[in-house]
Symmetry: D2
Subunit: 341 residues, 4 copies
């Protein structure tokens, strides 16, 4: 961290300020030019916020040179992290480091027939994970809120029938006891900065699919991952799912540059959700291809057998047939990227 | 809700679609022009999402005419809601319907001296509530996270000494047992769409200060209030605290037009947080004045005795002296608006 | 400007880089700590872009300490600038430094009766300038584009009849020959970064009303002013008129914090356009009050005798009666701010 | 266009309103349900703005069903438009309808050696167009503004030596006389809503590369194209070059979903500028691949022989060697998309 001191500051004041900084556990290097005095902070500055330094009356400008995250930081962990989920027969399904994870399924679990039917179908097409919501975060209290525990049971039945590992959303920590058989625990975009929840998930031993908040920066997403990792859980999959912008042609704006950005700064795998990002079923296949070309480690795609009567988010769900065609195309893009589905 | 049907749709298909809609509990009015068939949905459409209707292949366009919220809606509750908080001597401190609530205090509770000292000082200057954080949502897991229970105790001591009712943030529902003596429970911007938390707060009997998420729309804020109100808790105070935009001169962009917008659509009181919105202490007094002129029912302002050494958010805290001068000015603006502090 | 050099850079490389920088006309101060070498650039750095320095392989981070604008900068011109427009009888109408300029009138000039009628009415109510568009920037080529030269003639007639100085928009430099009798030349938000136009206006001798682009930062607005001032024209009035955000309750989001931000960084007067910012006539009076409370040096407000049949922007125009009531209120706010209308 | 009338409106008032609407040249279809009266406007509604209808006191809601653009609209021109630029030997270079246009070159023309050298090199690698700026829109008046006419001459020399057709930016209409030998005239993002300029370009007979304004919607970009097309010039190439968002990891946020969005609504070709969008040379190749996978009809990429000493935008320029490697990769993606470079 570099601090530019206001011109004309007395040496005595700088000395006192330096002492204040060193009490926070860093070493301070002083360097004075004729026009500008600059302090360099060395050591672990992750606990020091630029903004609070900025409050000091001697400070002209503060610049963070090192990122404020450590465990998520590629600088300290150069190799790509791969998340391995064990499945029947001693095999694993992997995400990251050259393996693409393809998660497909309905927004909400609705009935046994629906979820098992879709699970069989997407497995056939090549999906490696089944997605489906039992607890649904809905912006209206009057909208369908998911089947809850019953939905969870149906999801587990679909897992048993197909062998597909499952990914589903947890909305509050007390639900965790229901997640024993769940393979990947999803944290939704609206909970990305629910720091209490993140801390608790740091103590659990399951892979976490952490969705980017729709108005969160790259750094904030990595800080959210850091919250979980600081608790001891290193198995994080990051997920870009669209950000808010001024245009509403699509529901959100899919920020594919987040993929190279996150992969440069972090070793964690990054997947993309083109369904929630665009909100438009017809756009999903195109953006899925583009995500692979941009370096994504996987996709999470909504597939529904009857999108027009889906209880939730039908407008963004593709049919099993469309998913099957898409997989044929995606395999070619994966090959170009030298990745395995 | 109005649904424009795609040109050229067969009558049979429209009939089936109408039946599908009526199964969701609304009446459907059909009206055909030469060029365009339009269906009008009558009844309670709050449980029907425009987006899911948009998925249907017959639908050209969907428009919601009625707002998706009921209890928060001024249409069904024309008079302003006033929140009354009882204080010693049989008195109340009020927010809304002509009464301004002025909440002041430090971002974080740090020591007994600090919080009691600031409480005495802001009371002297005319604050009607003491604010202070015991549980702090911080974007870094390595930043100071608040004193927790100990901070809560100190806050209650300050309440006892000064008689000021207190407002403090709850980050997770299990903390609620510590909030018995708290007068107003704050839900932070990052939890505005933590729907599980909102539902639980619907069952508690305390006024809730609901901060607008930094990328949430006016409608989403009112839907978050509706989540709480649907559970039976009508005592909601809305709070504008800045939204994210492309400019970073200020930490967030204070959206003062949210005040008239919220007050037109809802009967709930609306206060403003100029400290978090701007992140700049020197800008707080100006924006506080503007908020009153824009019709705010109150303010929540960070005041710290020593902003330069504050453990959190010092750069946006004003000193007790600055707060005292500000109150003198605000009284004049309150008078113009015919409001009581 | 401060440049942090990448750790481990050879002295020889730093020396060459320093030479490269000095060839661009600045002095370079070298200061090495044990962990970080920092270069401080002294002199006129306005022609050096941070982004291009960032391209250099030795550079870790670049920070600009001084603002990139000079003539618009309050640091070099501490006193508020006041723009004086001469009117009949040796008097002036002023904007800035304690004087509020109130500009009112229709979006578009439509007929002689309309513009003269509105002019008389707003003058009666206390407006100090007449606004009205002859050349209209419309997002559709099929929308009414303004009356052009004929509109200009009608505007000048209204000026002659009422004595009100006029402000109207110039869309291209070749129109300037028609602006001889115009008192203030408006540059629209969509032309704020039309640098060719700005340069040409630097050579004209009329006050310029420079509207902030709807997605331009505070710094970019001041750089646009700097373009004009660099050509020799110092008479600039800045105008906040709403920025784009994710919410569309209002047409744009009125950023009132831009007023204290601009006034801290610059000596130029700042006015506010609540009509275009909100797009909602019922919200205009509230936001006009708030703008004065936030320190604005004036307002530009759309007033139309028959908003429902206005050829342009009727939904944001208030009636002459509403304007008259608003002026009564604004005088009280102006008095609190110790400003003269 | 559909207009929902406020409940309880008298028949007489609806009749008068209908007459008012029909005077604007459309037919009005009346349809009354028990709860809601709806008017449907038939005919050419492109000249009627929703916002101005919204001003009328009888109107509850207005919805546009048809897009406000005609000539750019795929509905009236289902086949993809292809832009053909003739080059020596009776050949053409094409953009759109299966042909990828690859434009490469420096941000600014600096010297003869530079531009001719880069031109030879990118041609060798497979670029089909040479880009380079002679007139540069810079946010600071003190930054290098381009070589102007001299730059134009150098660009034409490079064209002559290599046979590459050239694309370069026009900042004001009076420069058009210098563009005789220019193959594609670029309109920069900051001029996308310079409507006077767009109208003039409607009268010229050259292909126009129209860059999306950094805060303009998909619809606004198509309306800007419509301005040019309404004047008679149908040769428009649209260009996505990044939009403003709250995150500043990249300079802008590349909105690749704009490609399928624009191509669904319009027949015009769409290219992508990953250099300006990201502002980061290391990210350009990744986003270039993703753009092709998302369906782009071409790319415009900054290539500089010495990015570290470039007079402009060096941080986003890739070297000729990096461009050469990129082309090898892009050919594979083009093949998957069945497109010809």
């Amino acid at each position: 961290m570099i601090i530019a001191i206001k011109p004309g500051t007395a040496q005595e004041d700088i000395k006192n300020f330096t002492a204040l900084l060193e009490r926070r556990g860093v070493k301070v290097h002083y360097s004075a030019g004729t026009s500008q005095t600059v302090l360099g902070l060395v050591g672990d500055t992750t606990g020091i916020s630029e903004e609070s330094l900025q409050a000091h009356h001697l400070v002209e400008k503060v610049v963070r040179v090192q990122e404020p995250y450590k465990r998520a930081n590629r600088a300290f962990h150069p190799l790509d992290t791969r998340i391995d989920i064990p499945v029947a027969g001693g095999q694993v399904r992997s995400i990251g480091a050259g393996s693409l994870g393809i998660m497909a399924g309905p927004c909400s679990v609705e009935t046994r027939e629906q979820i098992v039917g879709i699970a069989n179908s997407v497995k056939q097409s090549g999906a490696t994970f089944l997605r489906g919501g039992a607890f649904k975060p809905r912006s209206s209290p009057y909208s369908f809120q998911g089947l809850g525990c019953e939905g969870m049971d149906l999801l587990l039945e679909a897992k048993k029938e197909t062998g597909l590992p499952i990914v589903t959303e947890l909305m509050a920590i007390h639900q965790l006891e229901l997640f024993d058989e769940v393979d990947i625990v999803q944290v939704g975009a609206r909970n990305m900065q629910n720091f209490t929840l993140l801390k608790e998930l740091g103590r659990c031993h399951k892979p976490i699919l952490l969705k980017r908040g729709y108005a969160c920066t790259i750094t904030e997403l990595l800080m959210a991952a850091e919250y979980i990792m600081a608790g001891g859980n290193d198995q994080i999959i990051l997920c870009e799912r669209g950000i808010r912008s001024f245009d509403n042609f699509t529901r959100n704006t899919l920020d594919l540059s987040a993929i190279p950005a996150l992969k440069r700064k972090s070793h964690l795998p990054v997947i993309v959700d083109p369904s929630h990002a665009t909100g438009l079923a017809w756009m999903v296949p195109t953006m899925a291809k583009a995500a692979i070309a941009a370096g994504a480690d996987g996709l999470i795609i909504e597939v529904h057998n009857n999108p027009e009567e889906a209880l939730c988010d039908g407008e963004q769900s593709i049919t099993p047939d469309a998913f099957d065609s898409l997989m044929t195309v995606l395999r070619k893009y994966a090959a170009l990227e030298e990745k395995i589905i």
